[in-house]
Symmetry: C2
Subunit: 158 residues, 2 copies
């Protein structure tokens, strides 16, 4: 691994990637689960609500560390561009699902998000296998979330 | 960075470090903030309760990634020993503070934890500067938590 960046700069960059990454869920907090979500028909395997906070905190942290590792290796180069695209798609899902209650559009959006995550992961893996691995739990979770989104869309027509 | 470990093994190890690390807070969940904690005298700068869950999830994730990076570099060697010592001390604080209501003993314990985190961080930094940096937010947060513990101990005698 290139350790060329100075240490305080690397520490600040880690903090920066964490702060920028955790901006994504802030878009959604205003429209978080409420009466509408509680009234949806849900499958038996719908996870309990308390899982989502810790799970997303873990996943946002892993993806921020992955982006920071890529930055440490190559600086502000092309592999970081899809990272910010997938982060924007990630931020947009909650307002579509929990804000606008558009289960179908949210499904389209989360499939696009999953593809963006996969492309980011492939680009990251070329720079650092470690950064690629840090994306694996996120890719798996969003696949699960997409299946859950699909199921909720089918169970709650109109 | 040594990329000698095979890929599925590296991915499993990342999952393993995350699972082992998140065992530490499980010891405390049975005795989490309740009536006793709500009744304590608190300083004006005591953070709101909702901060602690996301903050600790972020910090446990960062420390697990750091330990995994050290494992990737040197395998099961000496730098990982203090990691498990600090993790055990981390796990013990919540039962002492929230379970036994021993603010003074909790203070002694958290100072020992801070020293163990510092020693782990120094050892990790020698193997990987990245792993060392991933410990910096944790060291800073536990310093803050120790000052908060001290303040609560002084404000709530007996």
């Amino acid at each position: 691994m290139s350790e060329s960046s100075s240490l305080p700069r690397a520490g600040l960059a880690l903090a920066g990637f964490i702060v920028i990454t955790f901006c994504a869920p802030l878009f959604g907090t205003a429209a978080m689960p409420g009466v509408w979500h509680a009234a949806l028909h849900k499958p038996s395997w719908n996870p309990p609500a308390w899982i989502f906070g810790p799970a997303w905190t873990l996943l946002y942290t892993l993806m921020a560390v992955a982006a920071w590792l890529v930055w440490k290796h190559v600086g502000w180069r092309r592999p970081l561009l899809p990272y910010f695209v997938q982060l924007a798609l990630n931020a947009a899902w909650t307002p579509i699902f929990f804000g606008a209650h558009q289960l179908g559009w949210a499904l389209v959006e989360i499939v696009a998000l999953w593809v963006a995550i996969l492309l980011t992961m492939v680009g990251f893996s070329r720079v650092s296998k470690t950064a690629g691995w840090l994306f694996a739990p996120y890719l798996a979770w969003v696949a699960f979330a997409a299946i859950l989104n699909f199921t909720l869309w089918r169970m709650n027509p109109g």
